[in-house]
Each structure stands twice: as C-alpha cells, then as structure tokens.
Assembly symmetry: C2
C-alpha cells in the first residue's frame, strides 16, 4: 500500500475561491460578507474535481491513499480576524471531509486550523475537536507563521503553542508544520517561504527542549525538511555546539520528513542522510510544481519514481510508503485496520 | 592553489567587541558614544589572532588564500542608524585590510557595507569605493535583510538596490549575499536565518529579470546555496511554471554557490546537481560550526576533505579550488597575476 501523507485540495470547484473573495471583500464592507450557507457545492462537483485530478494521477502513479487537507496557500491566516479564519477553516475542512466520504478508500482528511496572528491558539481547539471527532481527521496542519511571512508569532517551542500540543497528544495526532501564502514581497510562497519555514521550524525544535515536555508529540516537516537534510552536518554540528544530545535522540523520535523533493539527487540525499524511520512518502500533488521535467520526461512531483530508484531495500521502501505513516498517524492505522486493510 | 572565498574575521581581538558594545550603549546615551580613534589594536594583536586561528587551520588543511571579510553576525545592520553602521563598517573593513597587509600571501579583503534598514543604499557607495580603491577589496558582502530577520527591505530585484549593482558592475566585483544576526526570535542566526536568506535571495533572482538589466552582475550564494541545490528540481520546475528560461541560462551566468556544506552527502549533492563552473570552494571557518564531527573525527567545517572525496575529476577540482574564483573575482585574479601567481 502506498500512502501519500501530503495532499491538499488544490482543485476545489471555483465556487470556493469566489466565496472566499467575497469573504475578503466583506472584511472591509460587512454588508458584503457572505454567509457560509451561501457556498453550495454539490457532490458531483466534488467528485469531478477529484476524479479528474488527484485520483486520476494517483491511479496513474499507483498511489492508494492520500492524507488530504485544505489548500495550504489558501489558508492565508493573515487575512481578517479570528472570525474570518474560523468560518473559512470550517468550510475548507468540511469539503475535505466530504471528499473523504465520497472516496473513503483513497482520501483521509487532515485539518487546517482557524489560526489568526496574535490570537490565543486555544481558539483553534473547537475546530480541531470537531475535525477529529466528527470528521475522522488523522492530523492537523499547523502554521508556524500565521502572519504570512512577517514571523510575528513566538517560536514553536514557546508555551504559546502548548494548548494545541496538549490536544494533539490527547488525540495522538501529528501536525504537519506548514505555512501558507506569503504576503511579504521578499518571500516567494512556494519557492522561499515554504522551504524557509521548514528549516526554521526544525531549528526551533533543535534549540529547545520541546519534546522533553511532550515526549509523544510528532511534527512532520514537509518539502523534504526544507534545507535540513542537505545541511545535516551543519545541524548535527550546531546541536553539538549547543550541548544538545545527538539529533537522533534529541529530535528524531518526534520529527519526520516527507519526500516532497522534486528530483532524484534530492531524494537520494534524503534517504542517505535521514534514518528511514523518519521519512514519509508524499508528493504534494497537484501543487507548486505541476509541470513535466524536460530532463526526465516525467512529472516533477511524481516522487514515487524517485523512491523506486533510490538505493534502499524493499523493507525500507515499505516503511517509507506505508509503515511509517501507520506509526506516525495512529488514527490512520486504526481506520485502516477497522476496514481490514 | 586553494582559495577559500568565504572567511570572516570571527577571531578579532576582544577590544573590537568591547568598542562595539560601547557604541551600542552610546545609541541611547550619546555621551557614552566612543570615537573610532578610541579603538586601538596593534599589529601584533592582529597577527596573533590570525596566526593562532585561521592561518593555523589553513596551513593544517592546505588552504592557500582566504577572501576575508568582517564577521557576518557582527554586521548587525539593524542596530542604530546609518551613522552607527557607517562608523562600524569603516572600523571592521580597516581591520580586514590590515590583516591582508600583514599576511599578503594569505588574505585578500572583501567589504561589509554600512547598510541601515530603510536608508538609501547609495549611502553605502563611499565605503565601497574606499574599500576597493584604497584597500584593494575584491568583493562585497551584501545583506538582503538589514532589519535582521524582519525582511522589511525590497527584494534584491528591486531598483532600490541598483546603485550598489551599478558600482559592482563598474568595478567588476561580485557580492556575496549574506545576512547578519537575526533579532527575530523565530530565526536562529546560523541555523535558520542564514540558510533562509540564501534560498530567498536565489528565488528573488529567479522570479525577476535582474540579470537582463545587469548581465555582468555576479552574486555568490553562501552556505551551499541554502536549500537550493537540494531542491534543484523544484526550482527548475518553478522557473518553468513562471515561463522563465532554463536556470542555466536564466541564472547560472550570474549566480554561484560556495561549498560551506558540512558533511559529505551535502557536497556530493552539490557537485552532482550544480554545474562545476558555479561552485566555489569555501569553508567559512572559524564560524558557525567549530566542532569535530564524531562520525568522521574531522572538523565539520573542513570542507576540503569533502571536495577531495567528491566524485569529480582533477580539472573540476581545480575549477572549484581556484579557476572559478579567479573568474568570478577578477580583481583577485589581477592581484595574483601582479604577484606572478
């Protein structure tokens, strides 16, 4: 079984974006603010948007199951206040839930949170609870920078974030640490902000003792861990400099990397440097890089090809494709076992 | 000949830091502001600080020459106003110049600029001119984020930066794109901010047509290019998505990467992915990672060992060690030729 732990609903029907644009307009002109109930998307539309896109590519590539969350760049937690984020998160999470109900063998939902810059993260708990208890979400996406490129929140090691962590530990769900659109002109969203956030989050964990407070807390760092595996020696050396334990003891019981690295040499480095238990298969398709690589004739984001060609054995490949995901996402494992899978 | 293009004066006599602390105190209490002339460091002290540190390690490792600039984390352009940065830059650049005069066979200076957030970069030109014309500097360090982690300046492709580029083109000198200390609690200076800035700068170049305006402008992206080589497929795909030319045509006549990557797998990826003409030998010793790697028994930052072990041939190794540096830093090449080297 091949589980893609990093998929976003990037292909939602156009009505979603139109509703969101009306909501954004409504921030300035409250009379224009739409009700959530004004967004109407039928099951046929959802089915079509998935079958012709993600599911088509999953079948072509031989992927079985995707952990599916709202479009990351559309979370845009910097827009509006908590109420705006709250309504928007509820709508987006409901759509991913409906996709998981329409295609129960292929999609399992993960939730975005109604984060808002400067707002107590405890306000996110009701949506988190609803997504886990009512919608069967197996993970959350946690945005370490809800300001969208201004980095005004405290580091992930700060107690500011602890209410979320306490709930994650209670439910035994991991968080993918994933920023959204950059509204800082310095940072291209998918070419700089995403990768920077991955590196930043890892270093925030490294300099802290967060996992001493939460020994079972689990973070998935997407996009192959940003710059981290390429600079693994630097990070090992910095940990040593800071008198921290070896990274394998200090972080690798709690921090995992996905395989959203869009060329063979990158995946080869990842599998050479990071222990196989900490690597989770993912493609983030249909996402930032949708084209075909002229050097290979294959899609850049067809990451299964790179894993197939990597110098790892069958058991390691099984761990990356399935075993690690079942371990890091226990609610996914439980759901699969309920179905006898 | 082995040229290390990335060295900072991290081992300057303590008097320098003490003077700087007085300067910082003087920002709030002008009566405490020291004069530049109150900093007195003798040649013997400079000699000792180099001979027992950088030069000792250069000899041990077999490095011949270092392009030597003021300590990056001490630039701290976010502290004080332009006058504070101006006085500080002049002091630091003079010390590197004196080191180059004391050890003319081993150190060639590169300049920091008196940048200050929000200030017209044309104010940096007099110091740049002085460093090139009087001190024989062969390059500058350009800080893309003088705010120290708040990223309040425009991207490097913005006309804001053009006065510097015009002078660089006139003098035919490259800039290393190098941030300084982070004063944003989210970003660890050497573990996140440095690498993020490298990735960010590269993406700012990618999304723009800067090198159409300045076809001979040259940027060196330090720390192995941040996350860029590891995600080379992503960047090739993003360029394609943005209808830009192939990266080799769009950027690689103007953008170069150093080898400050502190483990063998990272250097192997770098040399596999990036054309050899775009890789410049560097170690940034004595810098962020000063320890010995317990996995190898060698210094993390002894990057020559990784280049020696990389799968490249003798000519490629020559280009990385010397040939490319002579091409990218023409004033270095000219200075060496004057000496018959």
């Amino acid at each position: 079984m091949i589980i893609d732990i990093h998929g976003h609903y990037t292909t939602a029907p156009k009505a979603l974006e139109m509703w969101r644009n009306r909501q954004i307009a409504g921030i300035k002109n409250p009379s224009e603010m739409p009700k959530a109930s004004e967004l109407q998307i039928g099951d046929d539309e959802l089915r079509e948007s998935i079958e012709s896109n993600q599911l088509r590519l999953m079948r072509e590539r031989g992927l079985d199951l995707t952990i599916f969350s709202p479009r990351a760049s559309f979370m845009a937690h910097h827009i509006g206040d908590f109420q705006v984020s709250s309504t928007w998160a509820a709508i987006c999470n409901e759509l991913c839930y409906r996709v998981s109900q329409l295609f129960p063998d292929h999609f399992v939902p993960a939730a975005m949170l109604p984060q808002s810059p400067g707002v107590d993260v405890a306000t996110c708990i009701p949506e988190l609870v609803r997504c886990v208890e009512e919608y069967g979400n197996v993970a959350i996406n946690l945005n370490p920078d809800p300001s969208g490129g201004h980095w005004t929140s405290p580091p992930l090691s700060d107690r500011y974030w602890y209410p979320i962590y306490e709930k994650m530990v209670e439910y035994d769900i991991p968080a993918m640490i994933h920023v959204s659109t950059s509204c800082n002109a310095c940072f291209h969203t998918t070419g700089a902000h995403y990768l920077n956030a991955d590196t930043t989050a890892f270093m925030q964990c490294l300099t802290s003792d967060l996992f001493r407070d939460f020994p079972t807390l689990r973070f998935v760092i997407p996009h192959g861990g940003g710059a981290v595996p390429y600079h693994w020696g630097r990070f090992r050396g910095l940990a040593q400099e800071l008198k921290k334990p070896l990274l394998k003891d200090h972080l690798l019981n709690n921090v995992f990397f996905d395989t959203c690295v869009y060329h063979q040499p990158g995946i080869d480095l990842l599998t050479r440097v990071i222990p196989v238990d900490n690597i989770l298969f993912a493609s983030e398709m249909i996402g930032a890089v949708r084209g075909i690589d002229p050097e290979t004739g294959n899609y850049f984001d067809d990451t299964k090809r790179y894993i197939e060609a990597a110098h790892i054995d069958a058991d390691e490949r099984y761990q990356i494709y399935e075993g690690n995901a079942r371990r890091v996402y226990p609610r996914l494992d439980a759901a699969l076992k309920t179905k006898g899978v």
